[in-house]
């Protein structure tokens, strides 16, 4: 109860300050008068009586201060007074203030930027209602399509999804959506403009209800729209509506042509909703699952009950128990599997091992997260190291300032300033500097963030992320700057409060004692140590990246443009393809700037290839250990267009028609693996695992190995088939694959060195063949290759950037401490010079001091750098994590900058005028 009363009376006092002050003053005055009066009665003179009274009272000012402290919420009053004084003092030494704020800004900025990315990619929820109620049914990273059992279930067939939806009442709503998006060609009915490729996602009818979304224009579709035979509707993303249709309200509710079929555009999804996962290709058109057979007539997945291709997410109902729901889902999946007739023997035996795990779904499906997680942790660690260096710098600056101010502090204490007041003032100053630095850092982070996003995702146009700092990022930056301020303000403030007031009166502050303190030197060594680690990591990653970039690819990436298209979506039947490809090749060749044209199923480094086992006619080749290969179909002129060297035999040419004998071209790895030391030309092989097809293809040529997947990963031996030659298989699934593979996906253009903007020309060339043929994507092969190195490039560039930051900070720190110690040692240097020391001697003395600290830091940094290299070894490509050359380079760079940081103050020291230095004492 006491403290409440005290608090109340203190609060009351706040509002009557003046009055209470006067009251106290009067009381103290009467006290002194009473005392003086009594002294006079004892026979003292007027003056003596007054002085004696004051002496026995003690410090009047101090009493008043203590009294006030006891009286009011003095914390804030004192804070305001302190702040006023601190700001005044900082304005007097702007160099110090700016250095401190800049230091913190760099540290906080680096961290806030990384945290921003970290938060956006790893932590942030989808913009939906109560995201914490949403669970993903499944936790594994399966993608795309999957046949048969999964063990740890993550994706589902439509049949399994509906079964689970109808048997799990613990979910208020369970929705499903396709794992990969489909490119849909969209055209307005009455317009004649070229169709536009929109990114489409097949979703269940309750998709929007499950996410709890409202609508901005028109209506969202419901379960009733997702039934067989329901009128076809689609919903468009707000971004696509604004970008492509200028937010035209009249198209909402109208009919649009999707892949040449009429759909009603029911409505526009709420602004900011970017789908169920974070990606730079967010869906632009949502289509009910039951329309999938209509849009993919040849390879529809909807009714294949054992082909899994849908993610599922559910909204938890009241009283939801994740563990119980998980167990229930597992039971239901097993139950469903038991009811499946066409399950393989093996899968049937393992039904009891099949399981479903729930994972939080509020942040969406985590593809991007999985991809960037490791990189982000590494970057966060590196940013933290930069912050540590910045903190060391701040501590050093504050120490320097504290020593410079010691005299003042001692005088304050001699005059009666309470110790904790002094401590608080210094601490307040460091917090103020840190918070100011934090605000500046946020500003830096804003710009850095955008640059990082571009670096991380390449094309950020469609990415639902902005660099703008969100509330958590601001909170994070504020918290770390506050912690920095408190932690690194405590040391100097503690040193301050230990000053002995009597020193001030003795004038000890002028004593000649050697330069920088132990604490300052340790901080410099610490900074150097950490800088070496960062520079080494930066060096290792840079080496790794340049190794990656200089890997032989097997094709020419300069002056090549890859155009994505989809003849199946444009409505072509398999028998029409041969003519179509000829048309495309001849039409494209007429585009100005195009030198040669190829067509293929896939282009290098862009979602490569079909994978199949093969069988050989030749017994020796047929007995090879693994017969897994990757293959794709290519047109005449393909190898020549891509600059892939032909090593033997002939390439696929115009003579390879649907009716001519079936041929294949293999790569060197294929020949080497299956026909070591033998001539592959003339050999026969075919798709594996099916009797009677081992002689389907005759090898007519061999080309150089080409990096199809990406630069780093190993790939299967490869073969290439003509675009138009098909085999008739007895097994439906083989037939389906074969027919699907006849549809090309890419057009390769070799272009002249300088050419105009090709896109409109290519677009109209395709449209002139058929208005339904759309350019789905267009990218130079060089960019495509660079894209696969996005993540290592992001890590490398940021690490390098951070290590340069570290170098700058450490050099600034060293410069500051050296310069400061020169000032402190002016007299000593003066005496040395008076006694005959030469200028060069003084310079080398100062430099030696600076270099000694650096070398000590390097010594500590060496084992840490080796450890750092070990930790990132998995991120390195063909780079020795303990590379001596890189360590040496980093060390030399640090020594060089230390030399520079020492040289400026050293030159100043050598210009000390001995006479003036001595006279100053």
């Amino acid at each position: 109860m006491d403290w409440i009363r005290i608090l109340l009376s203190r609060c009351a006092a706040l509002f009557r300050e003046r009055e209470l002050d006067d009251d106290l003053d009067e009381e103290l005055r009467t006290h002194i008068e009473f005392a003086a009066e009594e002294n006079r009665e004892r026979g003292m003179s007027e003056g003596e009586a007054k002085i004696a009274a004051m002496r026995s009272f003690g410090g009047i000012t101090q009493t008043r201060e203590n009294y006030r402290m006891q009286r009011g919420l003095s914390f804030f009053e004192v804070l305001l007074v302190d702040l006023r004084i601190i700001v005044r003092q900082l304005l007097k030494s702007p160099g110090f203030a700016m250095a401190a704020v800049f230091t913190v800004a760099l540290g906080v900025g680096a961290n806030a930027a990384i945290f921003g990315l970290f938060h956006a990619v790893l932590l942030q929820s989808l913009p939906v209602t109560n995201p914490e109620q949403i669970y993903r049914v499944g936790a594994s990273g399966n993608c795309c399509t999957w046949n048969g059992s999964m063990g740890d279930w993550g994706i589902y067939s439509y049949s399994l999804y509906t079964y689970l939806r109808d048997h799990t009442p613990e979910f208020e709503e369970m929705a499903a959506f396709s794992t990969i998006n489909s490119s849909l060609s969209v055209r307005q009915v009455e317009r004649t403009d070229a169709p536009r490729a929109l990114n489409g996602e097949f979703v269940s009818g309750n998709y929007f209800e499950m996410f709890g979304l409202g609508t901005s224009e028109g209506r969202l579709f419901h379960s009733a729209d997702d039934r067989p035979g329901a009128a076809p509707v689609v919903v468009m993303s707000d971004r696509a509506w604004r970008e492509y249709y200028a937010a035209n309200p009249s198209i909402v509710g109208s009919t649009i042509m999707v892949n040449g079929l009429p759909f009603t555009l029911a409505g526009i999804a709420p602004r900011g909703f970017f789908g169920d996962r974070l990606t730079n290709t967010p869906p632009e058109l949502w289509v009910p699952l039951n329309q999938e057979p209509l849009l993919h007539p040849l390879d529809s997945l909807l009714h294949l009950s054992n082909t899994h291709w849908l993610y599922a997410m559910g909204r938890a109902g009241a009283g939801f128990q994740p563990a119980a729901a998980q167990a229930h889902l597992t039971t239901e999946v097993q139950q469903w599997l038991r009811g499946q007739a066409d399950l393989s023997q093996n899968d049937r035996a393992n039904i009891s091992r099949e399981q479903v795990r729930l994972s939080p779904g509020g942040a969406g499906i985590s593809g991007l997260r999985d991809y960037y997680q490791k990189a982000l942790y590494l970057l966060a660690a590196i940013a933290a190291v930069v912050l540590l260096i910045a903190c060391a710098n701040l501590a050093n600056l504050l120490l320097v300032r504290e020593t410079a101010r010691r005299h003042q502090t001692m005088v304050q204490m001699a005059l009666g300033a309470p110790r904790n007041r002094v401590l608080r003032a210094v601490l307040t100053e460091s917090i103020l500097l840190a918070v100011a630095g934090g605000i500046a850092g946020l500003g830096l982070a804003y710009f850095a963030n955008h640059a990082i996003l571009v670096l991380a995702f390449g094309n950020t146009k469609n990415l639902p992320l902005t660099g703008a700092p969100t509330l958590p990022v601001i909170g994070f930056a504020f918290a770390i700057s506050l912690i920095t301020g408190i932690l690194f303000g405590i040391i100097p403030s503690w040193l301050s409060s230990r000053s002995d007031p009597s020193d001030a009166l003795r004038g000890t502050h002028r004593a000649i004692h050697g330069g920088a303190s132990f604490a300052q030197k340790s901080l410099i060594v610490f900074q150097t140590t950490l800088s070496l680690v960062l520079l080494t990591l930066g060096g290792l990653l840079t080496h790794s990246l340049s190794t990656l970039e200089s890997q032989p690819l097997g094709f020419e990436s300069n002056n090549r443009v890859i155009v994505g298209f989809d003849p199946q979506d444009a409505g072509y039947k398999p028998e029409q393809l041969s003519t179509l490809y000829q048309d495309i090749q001849s039409r494209m060749k007429q585009v100005p700037g195009v030198v040669s044209v190829g067509i293929s199923s896939y282009a290098p480094q862009d979602s490569c290839c079909w994978n199949s086992g093969v069988d050989f006619q030749d017994a020796q080749a047929n007995s090879s250990s693994s017969k897994m290969t990757s293959w794709l179909r290519v047109s005449p002129d393909y190898f020549q267009t891509m600059g892939v060297p032909l090593l033997q035999g002939r390439a696929i040419g115009a003579q390879d028609t649907p009716t001519s004998s079936r041929v294949a071209v293999v790569d060197e790895a294929f020949a080497h693996k299956f026909f070591p030391g033998r001539d592959p030309i003339g050999q026969h092989f075919g798709m594996g695992g099916i009797a009677g097809h081992a002689e389907d293809y005759e090898i007519v040529g061999m080309v150089e190995n080409t990096r199809y997947v990406n630069v780093t990963s190993s790939q299967n031996p490869m073969f290439f088939l003509p675009m138009t030659q098909s085999v008739h298989f007895q097994v439906p699934s083989y037939n389906r694959t074969d027919i699907n593979s006849l549809y090309a996906g890419r057009i390769e253009l070799r272009v002249a060195n300088s050419h105009e903007d090709l896109e409109p020309l290519v677009r109209s060339a395709l449209a002139s063949i058929s208005p339904n043929l759309t350019v789905l994507s267009m990218i130079s092969l060089k960019d495509q290759v660079a894209l696969t190195l996005n993540q290592p490039r992001l890590i490398t560039q940021l690490t390098t950037c951070f290590s340069v930051l570290a170098l700058i900070l450490a050099s600034l720190g060293l410069y500051g401490v050296t310069a400061y110690s020169i000032v402190r040692r002016t007299e000593e240097i003066g005496i040395r010079m008076a006694l005959g020391a030469r200028r060069s001697g003084v310079i080398s003395m100062v430099l030696a001091g600076a270099l000694r600290l650096t070398i000590l830091g390097l010594a500590f940094g060496l084992p840490l750098s080796l450890l750092g290299g070990r930790l990132i070894a998995s991120q390195l490509y063909k780079t020795n994590p303990y590379s001596l050359a890189i360590l040496l380079g980093a060390g030399l760079l640090l020594l060089l900058s230390a030399l520079l940081a020492g040289l400026i103050p050293a030159r100043k020291a050598s210009s000390v005028d001995p006479m003036r230095a001595l006279r100053s004492e």
Partner: protein
């Protein structure tokens, strides 16, 4: 001057003030200070100024209350008197102190060898 002076223990000043007011009735600051010095026979080292924050503290706890009045010599001064809570506090704290003092005395007795 006595050659040994003792620093005031934290918290003891409060009790001294309370006890003084209990035995002397309402007093102003200077009188309280003088009274404490006299009773302690000048063995305490105390700046009279430290009394005032203590007086405020006691007021905030509601143990004493101030009132402006006039001294016998006709001067205006602030008089402090015990409240009822203050009286209770004197009793409690006195008992407390006696216990502590007795315990300390036993520890500090010259032949404090345990008999067991």
């Amino acid at each position: 001057m006595p050659d040994k002076k003792v620093d005031i223990l934290q918290g003891t000043l409060d009790l001294m003030v309370l006890k003084t007011l209990e035995s002397m009735g309402p007093l102003h600051g200077y009188r309280i200070a003088r009274r404490i010095e006299q009773v302690s026979a000048d063995t305490l080292s105390m700046n009279q100024g430290t009394l005032y924050p203590a007086l405020l503290r006691l007021q905030q706890r509601g143990w004493i209350k101030p009132a402006w009045g006039v001294t016998e010599t006709g001067r205006r001064a602030k008089f402090y008197s015990l409240t009822r809570a203050g009286r209770k506090q004197v009793e409690e704290q006195t008992a407390n102190w006696e216990r502590i003092a007795a315990t300390m005395a036993r520890f500090l007795a010259p032949d404090n060898t345990p008999s067991r």
